[in-house]
């Protein structure tokens, strides 16, 4: 571990839904530019953690610092503007808009003050991003007509348009074919090379192993492991949680 100060530093995050404890004092820290896998069985609290970090729901207790600022009280759109951007497990495109129209929303509302690529023109920036994810030739088609893998790419492109420092990719590959999974992994590597730290939430272990430098394991709302991927995969507790006794 380096001594570099973390980009995201969340401490003892708790979230209860009625009598059910979804998150029980979870700590998570991400360094700038890092690639982290967040894994765990269904119902272990991964999505709840994503929601708490991105501001879709607020945590009951705990502190979240991002880029040196306390953000646990900020609404989701302000966290997006600061640079925590998430994608959704089930793609949520703006269906009344074209593909490029989807991107102009974060470009206009989140990324206004940090234009990239030497252009401040929303359309040009959107086209550059679509080029990156391979949707350039679909730019002016209605987003409602995209295929499943294209929707995942649009979801990522829209997140990139918000100019994230930390991208939380919530099961971007669920339901995709092997070759499509590879495509998305390559895409995430490309984004990471641009300096974006990425948390990948995924059930496809192959993808997690190929992509992440570090893995965090949640089981029943508790963090049970947080180490390099090879160490985590051999951790007795993790094996037990996944495979049973």
């Amino acid at each position: 571990m380096t001594t570099q100060s973390p980009l995201l530093d969340a401490m003892s995050i708790r979230k209860r839904f009625g009598g059910f404890v979804a998150l029980d004092a979870v700590d998570i820290a991400i360094r700038p530019g890092e690639r982290v896998g967040l894994i765990g069985p269904n119902g272990s609290g991964k999505s709840t953690l994503v929601n708490c970090l991105s501001g879709a729901i607020s945590s009951d207790t705990g502190t979240i610092r991002f880029d040196g600022r306390a953000i646990e009280r900020l609404p989701a759109h302000q966290r997006t503007r600061l640079g925590i951007v998430r994608t959704f497990q089930i793609p949520l495109p703006f269906t009344s808009m074209t593909v490029i129209g989807n991107l102009t929303i974060p470009l206009r509302f989140a990324a206004r003050h940090h234009a990239v690529g030497g252009t401040t023109n929303d359309v040009e920036q959107a086209l550059l991003i679509l080029e990156d994810v391979g949707l350039r030739d679909k730019a002016h088609e209605p987003s409602a007509g995209l295929t499943q893998v294209e929707l995942r790419k649009l979801e990522l492109a829209r997140a990139v348009a918000a100019r994230p420092k930390l991208l939380i990719a919530d099961e971007t590959m669920a339901g995709l074919s092997n070759s499509e999974v590879d495509e998305i992994i390559l895409l995430l590597f490309k984004l990471n090379e641009q300096g974006i730290a990425i948390i990948m939430i995924e059930h496809i272990m192959r993808a997690v192993m190929a992509f992440s430098q570090r893995a965090i394991v949640l089981v029943a709302g508790k963090k049970i492991a947080d180490d390099t991927t090879d160490v985590v995969i051999n951790n007795a507790e993790v094996v037990r949680a996944y495979l049973g006794e």
């Binding site: 991105s54 501001g55 879709a56 609404p75 989701a76 759109h77 997006t80 503007r81 951007v85 998430r86 959704f88 949520l92 495109p93 703006f94 269906t95 009344s96 808009m97 102009t104 929303i105 974060p106 206009r108 509302f109 989140a110 990324a111 829209r158 348009a161 918000a162």
Partner: protein, 318 residues
């Protein structure tokens, strides 16, 4: 040559109608036209919240009634010029919009609609029990015989409402084309995704509710002078709520011209039915038209037109 900006068309149409109102002698046309114009304001205002952001407001009557009774209060106190009453009605209605927004915008879908419907009923009950403005007995407003520069008082009211309709259409158009309109459209498509794309959803919704309510309040302010006898039942009539939803729906909700088309169509039919058959039929006409449009043309007349244009473009390109 520079392209003619499209806001010029509503202005030209308004000027043309203004010129017509100087020529037409029959006062009935002013009287009926006033109602059509009033519905252009209500439908355009409703569409700013309901059409652009997808929050269905069933309580247009509440904001309209606030404007009307705001004018009554001023009339009892010091009888200011009508323009003052309009500004007053707009401000009070948009403040009520602000409070309503904070109380109800956490509700979605049908729950928001019910909450706004309740607002109209609560306000009607309050006014019913407020003796200063006449309570259930209503209020007779004495209107001046004439206004300098206008052939008659009804003509004056008509011109005022024409001005308000123009303002409402231009405001709706400006919002639609601005980044606020883009943000509202994102909210309509998916509010959670919009928020996570950096759209300040709550602030935009509150803004839309205030502008929408304010315009409705302005439309209500001249109403006591128009009908001369105002009672709570006519000021808070459910017909306003239903018509201001039906008109954008029939005309098309994604373009500012939609509510205008819907308002002209529906209000003219209603006016004709009122004089030829009976005003009892009005709500039934709305119902029949609504059902046919929802089943046959869910995107309204504007939607039909756009589908036709796309088809033709595709044919031309192949």
């Amino acid at each position: 040559m520079r392209r003619i900006p499209s806001w010029i068309w509503p202005v030209l149409v308004a000027l043309f109608i203004l010129a017509l109102s100087r020529v037409v002698k029959n006062e009935y046309y002013m009287f009926a036209g006033y109602v059509v114009l009033q519905y252009i304001v209500l439908a355009s205002a409703w569409n700013i919240l309901g059409g652009y952001s997808g929050y269905v407001n069933f309580g247009s009557a509440a904001f309209f009634g606030i404007g009307a009774y705001g004018a009554v209060v001023l009339d009892k106190l010091w009888q200011p010029p009508l323009v003052v009453a309009i500004v007053f009605g707009g401000i009070v209605a948009s403040l009520v919009g602000l409070v309503t927004a904070y109380l109800t915008l956490r509700l979605r879908g049908v729950f928001f609609a019910i909450a706004t419907l309740a607002l109209a009923i609560v306000l009607q009950t309050l006014v019913m029990n407020w003796d200063f403005v006449g309570g259930p007995l209503g209020y007779y407003s004495v209107r001046p015989d004439s206004i300098a520069g206008f052939p008659s008082y009804v003509n004056y009211l008509f011109v005022i409402m024409l001005g308000l309709a123009l303002i409402a259409v231009l405001v709706a158009r400006a919002i639609e084309l601005s980044f606020i309109g883009r943000g509202l459209a994102a909210i309509r498509d998916n509010e959670l995704a919009a928020e996570c794309c950096g759209v300040p959803t709550l602030r935009l919704k509150v803004f839309a509710t205030m502008v929408s309510g304010g315009l409705m309040g302005m439309a209500g302010a001249p109403f006591p002078y128009y009908i001369t006898y105002l009672d709570p039942n006519s000021a808070f009539s459910l017909a306003y709520g239903i018509n201001s939803i039906a008109m954008p729906l029939i005309g098309g909700m994604t373009h500012w011209i939609g509510p205008v088309i819907g308002a002209v169509l529906l209000a003219v039919i209603q006016q004709v039915a009122t004089v030829t058959i009976s005003s009892e039929l009005n709500l039934m006409i709305v119902g029949v038209l609504l059902i046919s449009f929802i089943t046959l043309a869910p995107n309204g007349i504007v939607g039909l037109f756009e589908r036709y244009r796309q088809k033709r473009q595709r044919r031309l390109s192949t």
